[in-house]
């Protein structure tokens, strides 16, 4: 081991591998697709309703495009896409794996 840095790549590998073993993120972090899907479905509904009830003056201001309606429908589609993706391909629960063999023999 070098006395120069006092902290070699082997130390780091060992430390991080240990932490990965104890890490909880993989097992416990929820799936973001649910949130994105949910939020955009909600936004989509709100904005689509705004589009349906849009006044003519507002539509004229937006270059005669009912932009609320289109954006609302677009967001709704995005939200549904995420929820569908989540439903069709849920994340498999992580294996209690670990590269025990990544542990090097003591120097």
């Amino acid at each position: 081991m070098s006395e120069h840095s006092g902290y070699s790549d082997r130390d780091l590998q060992r430390e991080v591998t240990e932490l990965q073993g104890k890490s909880a993120t993989a097992a416990r972090l929820f799936d973001i697709r649910r949130i994105i899907g949910g939020l955009f479905v909600v936004y989509g509904i709100i904005v689509t309703i705004a589009g349906i009830t849009e006044s003519d003056a507002d539509i004229a201001k937006a270059q005669d495009v009912n932009i609320n309606l289109w954006t609302g429908l677009g967001m709704l589609a995005l939200g549904l896409f995420f929820l569908a993706w989540l439903w069709l391909r849920p994340v498999a629960p992580p294996t209690p794996d670990l590269d025990q063999d990544a542990e090097r023999p003591a120097e």
């Binding site: 790549d9 590998q13 890490s23 909880a24 993120t25 709100i46 705004a50 539509i59 932009i67 954006t71």
Partner: protein, 572 residues
């Protein structure tokens, strides 16, 4: 994180970059505020939910290295697509026209691909938790400490500027007093980062990305409609600004005059190579997103996946800028109240009805906060694992460092609130800060690239190279440019030259120092230098990772070819 860090898009120099004209107040109503409130609730909810997953310091700082590639890829691009980038690039387009594409196609894609294909195996395989930690392994403690300190300092300054920029925009658009926005946004970010660490930050970035798209797409579509489509736009611009305005390369011959103050050589080398490689390959707020991926393949694919939206997002920020240049013909000059930075706010006010307006406001605020959050999350990682854990309190239990990470997050946010108020006393802090940050990225990149490809680069050369490169870039800017010793027509041009100067100086010093000092023993260079691999890195590819669409080389080269192809319509 936004990129005020990124290749110094100049927030057009003449004026104070983020003071918006008074008449930009948006006609927001209860619907828009409801949309905004829902977003805030969701963000905080993500923070609470992510908290359950934090057990170790690796969870808090690097999401346990377990995230899928699509999440890290989108976070990667979202971290870069902050509000200052959005407003600033639109401003750039209003001022320089289609030249803006350079910051994306040549100034980002090659560097991102390089990061994914070449550098990721080293970063990820070595299991470093931060960019400075890599320098520790490759060089010595001197290089490590210097880079950590510089980085931590820059991160807080940038987070503060983001916060200040947010306050100014909110004040102009919504009428909230500056201190209210600074404090509210600051505490908000503090809340969700302290709770859930990097996972919170990343999830919120991914969310923000889609909200931004939902805001910019309608804006661009309506803007184009108003000026008569793409043809109407280019015709109007050509007649008001000349034919070069709507081309990428027109007027960039060496020695010819153009508003950018740069020629094709400084664009390709200064922006395309040095500045952009410096940013994308060593900026920890970006690299951290890739390091949190679940395996090497995912880590490699992170910047590559991000490259594709990056190619196309330019249109969403450029079109509003160009449209603003048409609708407000004298924008940015004394003939109009509006600055270049007002381009997007102006369009929001002019075109969007309540509903989509709420989405746009939410997107903008979300982008500012995410920018601040990305800097805070990289700051707390570097401060805790690189400075505190290595030099101040070693050998504590891992849970101590998680607690400390939370504490330093709070300290960092308070410091950013402080630097935000400090920023308010400068008139042109944005472009100044960009320049400063480009001082830091470029020398880091030189040190990295030489260290990675040249085994003989000695241990001490890292520290001296870093110091020399930073100093050279600063001297070029402050002494040679500001004192008019050499003639560079614009701040932007000066940044490109500073980048080249920093690069050359850093490289020369590294060579010189390496000739006289001891190299690192070859056994310790495993996995840190090109041509070696990390011990313990032979993980079998994960199931499904050998699918054709997951091959890094294909993704990388695909992105480069696509970006090059995009230039074609704008080059002839």
């Amino acid at each position: 994180m936004q990129t005020p860090t990124y290749p110094a898009p100049t927030y057009p120099a003449p004026t104070s970059p983020v003071h918006l004209a008074a008449e930009l107040r948006l006609p927001t109503n209860w619907l828009d505020y409801t949309i905004l409130a829902i977003y805030f609730v969701v963000v905080l909810g993500i923070g609470f939910a992510a908290r359950r997953s934090v057990k170790t310091s690796l969870d808090f700082f690097l999401s346990g290295r377990s995230l899928p590639a699509w999440v890290t890829g989108l976070a990667f691009i979202a971290a870069n697509l902050g509000a200052t980038e959005i407003l600033g690039m639109a401003a750039n387009s209003a001022q320089y026209g289609v030249y803006t594409v350079h910051w994306y196609w040549i100034g980002a894609i090659p560097a991102m691909v390089f990061l994914g294909l070449v550098m990721m195996p080293f970063y990820y395989g070595s299991k470093v938790r931060s960019v400075p930690e890599f320098l520790l392994l490759r060089f010595d403690r001197g290089a490590h400490l210097l880079s950590s300190i510089l980085f931590a300092f820059a991160a807080i300054l940038i987070a503060g500027v983001n916060l200040y920029a947010l306050a100014i925009v909110v004040e102009a658009l919504l009428g909230w007093p500056q201190w209210v926005s600074i404090v509210v946004a600051g505490f908000f970010v503090l809340g969700y980062i302290t709770l859930g660490g990097l996972s919170s930050a990343i999830y919120n970035e991914v969310l923000q990305f889609f909200v931004i798209l939902a805001a910019l797409i309608p804006l661009s579509v309506l803007g184009l409609k108003k000026v008569g489509g793409w043809d109407g736009l280019t015709d109007s611009l050509t007649s008001s600004h000349g034919a070069d305005f709507t081309t990428a390369w027109g007027g960039t011959g060496i020695g010819s005059d153009n508003p950018l103050g740069a020629n094709w050589l400084t664009i390709v080398l200064g922006l395309g190579f040095v500045l952009s490689f410096g940013y994308w390959t060593t900026n920890f707020a970006e690299v951290q997103r890739a390091l949190s991926a679940k395996n090497l393949s995912a880590a490699q694919r992170t910047p590559l996946i991000a490259a594709f939206p990056k190619i196309f997002i330019v249109f969403l920020v450029m079109i509003p800028g160009l449209v603003a240049a048409v609708l407000v013909p004298k924008i940015g000059t004394s003939g109009s109240d509006l600055q270049y930075n007002d381009a997007i706010p102006y369009l929001m006010e002019d075109l969007l009805p309540n509903g989509v307006l709420g989405i746009a406001v939410t997107g903008l605020l979300a982008a500012f906060m995410a920018g601040m959050a990305a800097n805070i999350s990289s700051f707390n990682t570097v401060f805790t694992t690189d400075i505190w854990q290595k030099y101040v309190k070693r050998d504590e239990e891992d849970t101590y460092y998680v607690r400390f990470g939370r504490l330093i997050t709070a300290v960092g946010v308070m410091a950013s609130i402080g630097t935000a108020f400090l920023a308010s006393s400068f008139s042109n802090i944005m472009s100044y800060l960009q320049t400063l940050f480009s001082f830091f990225n470029v020398p880091m990149f030189v040190v990295f690239i030489i260290g990675m490809f040249w085994k003989r680069a000695s241990m001490k050369s890292g520290f001296w190279g870093l110091l020399a490169g930073t100093t050279a870039a600063m001297i070029n800017y402050f002494v040679l440019y500001k004192q008019d010793i050499i003639g560079i027509p614009s701040d932007q041009g000066a940044n490109f030259v500073s980048a080249i100067a920093g690069f050359v100086a850093g490289a020369v010093v590294m060579f010189a120092v390496s000739l006289f000092t001891a190299p690192k023993p070859a056994a310790e260079l495993q996995g840190l230098v090109y041509g070696t691999t990390s011990p313990g890195m032979e993980e079998p590819p994960a199931k499904g990772d050998d699918a054709w669409y997951r091959k890094p080389a294909l993704l990388g080269w695909g992105a480069i070819i696509l970006a090059a192809a995009c230039y074609i319509p704008f080059s002839f």
